[in-house]
């Protein structure tokens, strides 16, 4: 042990909140890292949806402050997929992340200054880990996070591995052409706001000025959308385009769900172009 207790332990899982999975994982953390603040990012990632979890962690990372992230969306639990711990180059955000090697953690790592070191967790090397268990969130990742929070060096928890060997998810689709942006729906939030993979700079890169038109499918008629700064600038049932609080373009309504109005879901493609 070379460091000292520092920051919070942040949790993101697909465990839901009906079963006791989150509770017992937090109980292990409270026992092995007494005094740590435990902050739930979300436990309602759709079951097994690694991509949705990775995007949620990426959006959250810049706002978390110092500490350790435990991420568990893990369809490969109890298979040969590697349990990993990562160290970032962040000065003021989470220094460590713990979870499965399936891409879940990597987009957040990029937001946290990039990767400094990575290890495969060795069950025998993690204090409090249970070598027989198949519940890695409770019995491996939580103990590893508690050790890191308490100041244990990453190297003490397993063997180093190469950056290139880590599993990465495919990047979200985004094609910016002259007068045309083809973009993927990343996320639909509780209010029906539709976050796109495109950002405000992409509008400039595409040379789009003035009113925009949005095409949702090849068959549907394009819709005119206005760029606005506040939901309240929109009329009822109108869909507008804002820069959201994460710096992405988002399709939004004013007290109505843009996702419902447009019939959109995550991973769908939309095209932004100029009004004729």
């Amino acid at each position: 042990v070379t460091g000292r207790a520092h920051g919070c332990i942040f949790l993101l899982t697909d465990y839901g909140q009906i079963d006791e999975f989150v509770g017992v994982t937090k109980a292990v953390l409270a026992r092995l890292a007494p005094g740590a603040s435990l902050i739930d990012i979300s436990h309602e990632v759709p079951a097994f949806d690694v991509r949705a979890g990775a995007l949620t962690l990426e959006r959250s990372a810049p706002h978390l402050g110092p500490g350790v992230i435990v991420g568990v969306v893990d369809p490969g639990v109890a298979t040969a997929r590697r349990p990993i711990a990562l160290e970032t180059r962040s000065d003021n955000g989470p220094r460590h992340l713990v979870g499965p090697d399936n891409g879940l953690l990597m987009r957040a790592v990029e937001r946290l200054g990039g990767l400094k070191k990575a290890v495969v967790l060795a069950r025998a090397a993690v204090p409090g880990a249970d070598a027989q268990s198949t519940f890695d969130g409770r019995d491996l990742f939580a103990p590893a996070a508690a050790a890191l929070w308490s100041g244990t060096d990453l190297d003490e928890l397993g063997e180093p591995i190469d950056r290139d060997s880590l599993v990465e998810l495919e990047a979200p689709a985004l094609v910016v052409g002259r007068g045309r942006i083809e973009s993927e729906v990343l996320w639909i939030d509780r209010f029906g706001n539709v976050q796109l993979s495109a950002g405000p700079d992409d509008i400039d890169r595409a040379g789009l000025t003035g009113a925009l038109r949005l095409t949702v499918t090849r068959d549907s008629a394009p819709v005119e959308i206005r760029r606005v700064k506040a939901f309240a600038e929109l009329n009822e049932q109108e869909v507008g385009l804002i820069v959201d609080a994460n710096g992405h373009l988002a399709l939004v309504g004013n007290g109505s769900s843009a996702a419902l109005t447009l019939g959109l879901a995550p991973r769908r493609r939309v095209i932004l172009g100029a009004m004729p």
Copy 2:
């Protein structure tokens, strides 16, 4: 800074628990107010339902103890609606509340001894606030709450405003006449209990004694209801009237939902009268 860290920070929002909105807001609080206990009142206020949020805060206020309340149900975010911080006269409950000036906080303030001071939050004056952001919960209200929890004077966070300028919600309907109480449904809880705007004193004021009859609509036949002290005094599917844990009259069942039995929802009106 004139005070010192004190009590909890209590959160009430309509953010839901699927997205990371609550998590990043709490992460900001944990970073700016290290050591504060963060207590979730509820994050499942129906989206944009300021009235439901205000009633939930009002019910909760007397039980919270010292600290700061962050309340965010905010359909007007990113418009001219004012972000405010309030100081109450409470000795043993929350001293400060932070949120939008849309009536959300005012009923709780009355339960906390009334208003002592109010300010409009100045983004530039709140340490850690983000002047560009449209996510006020994370980037304005949480930093303001952290500052107040840490002992910053209300005056340091913005310009004072008059009590009379603060937005108030319409009071729930309640008309007490001779032998007749017309009352509004304030809240239906998870168990289907139906809280009314009337209290037990209103029964005395109306001169009602003995068995009561309840009329839900003009068209439906009145139902006889008994006043009881415990759910268990009721027969299966019977609806009774109790004084609930918040001091209101409530229509309840015994292991069944009174709301379902009677077909009631928030804001509906019911009439209590005497059995003929």
Copy 3:
């Protein structure tokens, strides 16, 4: 007061997370037991389902560490059912449990080394309790838990009662015969995994070796199931049998819900036998 502040306070209720019930209960705990870590086991126990709550507490108990458990699934609130506090013989798990005398707490007590002492809570003896209230979670159990966490002796909170007088739930069904195990469905988790009352030793006791067949009802054809160690060993839509993270046998799928595939729900019976 003879002890000192120790461990966490763990909460399990059927309050849900839409209303403020959990929030105000935790606010009372934070006020009366400042510094205690409050860990939610679950608040989504089906309303009034004492058995589901008792099984959840039993599964959680071995993983919780030192502290006090507050359990509230309480269809008999405000009746003559007794409010109780229990002391366990556990060295490294929760020492105390507080809740209604309806069987909710007893299975967890057995997992925590068995019962050492029990008292009926006397409202007048519990600091901070409200004698008039019908919201026992907030106004009796939380104050009692705070007192125990702070080191108050169990004896100071009420009169001792006999072990034999405590309400117990019926044990889950399990009949192990020669080549046949009749078992009850205890729990279906978020991923559709079906936990059985049987454990791996029961397979040996029944003399079952090799492939197993599962019969769900008298009318349905038996299904062959393989014993596996990881979900990933199964084909799509195949159901397998694992030893779950709580040491029970469980029917599971690979990215699919075994409960949906088999049409199972809690309390249903299934029969495990040998393939002919």
